[in-house]
Amino acid sequence: MMQYIPYNIPFIAVALLVGIALFIIIFKRNLIKIVMGIAILEAGVNLFLVTLGYRAGGVAPIYTMTPEGAMVLPVPQALTLTSIVIGVSVIALMLTMVMHTYRHMGDIDARKSRLLKG
């Protein structure tokens, strides 16, 4: 069991990141902190995707001047790149909405700046 720990450290990190992020999104009230929680969640899921492609003893999947041997899988890296791009757009959109809310209500506490209730 102990010899599997070094290979599993990235997965433990993913579980920690996702757990912390879900805690932040559900329980924190400041809107900027909610946006940060979504950024951390996204980082955790991207780390999970890249770690899936690892093959023991593999090198980077590039043909230019590369040593011989097995390569790690390149497809999860393409999926992660798409996810990072989508994440940038979503964070930019959320930050813009927070800025508009601050300009209207003067406060970014999620309980004090709510207008739609019931």
Partner: protein, 522 residues
């Protein structure tokens, strides 16, 4: 024509995308050029959807592979599994495509005159086309990761459009809630796709369905996918964003965001029926879907009774009507492995649930458009301040009456046809569920009677004496939906046999979906 039919799955996605990219350049030449450009390209897309629908209903599933030598070549030479991005269109995909296209047509025509005095109009039309591309891509795709990408496209476009009126504080709040929920649910979908890819090294839905072994990791992935899609379609434990977002979205955007929730429901069905369908006993999953449906129906309509904001009230009714769809298809999922029950009432339940999707998109969309028409003229959504609008806004009142009668399930409208299918088949499955459904329908009628009474009847209020009818393009937008409702009401049998029954067949029959891709191995 043959060329257009073969290439239509990708052209339906690519032509509105081209319109979305070119609109900022074309709008420098003036507003009229931009409007005609968008309407023309969307008309071409509608024509392509029509010929693809005729081809699917006569021919069967159609596969389109991007970047291959021939469009139908799903598996390249010397490979055993599909490796390219694929679009796979079968009966239920084209059914959802038809729904989306009709709602988009009404929303586009409605928005032409709604936005006359707003700024940033070219971005509105760009984002509207991107929202359409996201929905159609979600419905036509045959690849799990493509599903995630189109889900994110439609979330971002929908949230930007929902908070379009940035001068109002509550619009930005509604959009913010929508994007937070959509981002969390899409990241859960990506996590589940990662789990499935790590096990099987495959991303296409047909190949995954072929190789699925259903061990513990697959059950975790199914649970995450189900939670993510229920979050997105505003099913009851996770429905808090829906009333806020539906209430503040402008012009024809609320029907489009509502139809994107229906597209998430389609994605839920695609994952449970096709990806996980043939391997295990689906009774437990079916019962979970049924319980979600009953909760949505009941809580949706109970929360709707005491609302005073007209669009918020309609949003709670939209949540409750989604419960009907989940109930109908959930009964079908629960009896999927039991051939006797499936033949006697399972298919009818699924027919009812799926027919309810298009009915609901039509009459709920029209009710949202009438509420926006009222807001356009008098500037408020509060029912306590409205009254006597029926004297001046005659066409809006007629459309509202049609929509309210259809949603309550009054014969002869199409709401009655789909609800009757659901009542009869669910009664044979479990009588209690059917009685709850009928009770919810009664309370819906009561709630809409209250809205009609307070908004449209009564003496004419002095503040609203100069209120005239809404502009013509908005009336045409609502009229398109009313015409479809009346057509579906007069010929429900024809609609069920032509459009709904192939969709049910496509969901139940998992093997033909897999053969559409894997059967073309060299």
């Amino acid at each position: 024509m043959e060329y257009l039919t073969v290439h239509s799955p990708i052209l339906i996605v690519a032509v509105p995308l081209l319109a979305a990219f070119v609109t900022p350049l074309i709008s420098r030449m003036g507003n009229k050029v931009r409007d005609t450009f968008n309407v023309t390209l969307f008309g071409f897309t509608m024509f392509l959807v029509a010929i693809l629908a005729i081809d699917i209903y006569t021919g069967g599933t159609r596969v389109y592979t991007l970047g291959a030598a021939v469009p139908e070549l799903a598996i390249p030479e010397n490979y055993m599994v599909p490796v390219r991005i694929m679009f796979q269109v079968d009966g239920i995909s084209i059914f959802m495509g038809l729904t989306t296209t009709i709602v988009m047509l009404a929303a586009l025509v409605y928005s032409l005159q709604f936005l006359k005095n707003e700024t940033g109009q070219d971005r509105f039309y760009s984002l509207l086309m991107l929202l359409y591309v996201g929905m159609i891509g979600l419905e036509f795709t045959g690849d799990m990761f493509n599903l995630f990408v189109f889900l994110e496209i439609l979330s971002i476009a929908g949230a930007s459009l929902a908070s379009y009126r940035t001068n109002l504080a509550d619009a930005v709040e509604g959009g913010f809630k929508y994007i937070v929920i959509s981002a969390v649910s899409a990241l859960l979908v990506l996590f589940a796709i990662g789990i499935l890819y790590g096990q099987y090294n495959l991303l296409s839905i047909a190949a995954l369905a072929n190789a699925m072994q259903f061990n513990t990791l697959d059950m975790i992935a199914l649970a995450m996918l189900a939670i993510a899609f229920v979050m997105k379609l505003a099913g009851v434990p996770l429905h808090m964003w829906a009333p806020d977002t539906y209430a503040v979205a402008p012009a024809g955007i609320t029907p489009m965001i509502y139809t994107s929730s229906a597209a998430s429901m389609y994605a839920l069905y695609r994952v449970t029926f096709t990806l996980y369908g043939g391997h295990f006993d689906t009774t437990a999953i079916g019962w979970v879907v049924i319980i979600l449906g009953v909760l949505s129906m009941f809580i949706g309509v109970m929360m709707a009774i005491h609302q005073t904001d007209i669009k918020r009230l309609m949003a709670y009714h939209a949540i409750s009507q989604s419960g009907y769809m989940l109930l109908g298809v959930g009964v079908g999922l629960a009896v999927l492995t039991d051939p006797v029950a499936l033949a006697s009432y399972g298919r009818d339940a699924m027919n009812g649930g799926i027919f309810h999707i298009i009915n609901n998109a039509l009459y709920k969309g029209m009710l949202f458009l009438t509420a926006e028409a009222i807001f356009f003229r008098i500037g408020t959504r509060d029912l306590n301040r409205m009254g006597g609008l029926g004297h001046n806004m005659k066409w809006t009142t007629i459309f509202f009456i049609i929509g309210a009668l259809a949603i309550s399930g009054i014969p002869p409208f199409n709401g009655f046809a789909s609800k009757l299918l659901i009542y009869e088949s669910v009664f044979r499955f479990n009588p209690l569920l059917s009685i709850i459904a009928m009770f919810v329908s009664l309370v819906t009628l009561a709630s809409f009677t209250k809205v009609f009474y307070s908004a449209f009847t009564g003496p004419e209020m002095p503040a609203y004496k100069e209120v005239r009818e809404v502009p013509r393009s908005m009336l045409i937008g609502m009229g398109i939906m009313a015409a479809c409702i009346i057509f579906f009401s007069i010929f429900p049998g024809l609609v069920v046999d032509t459009i709904v029954a192939p969709a049910t067949e496509a969901l139940i029959d998992q093997a033909s979906y897999i053969n559409g891709v894997m059967g073309v191995a060299p």
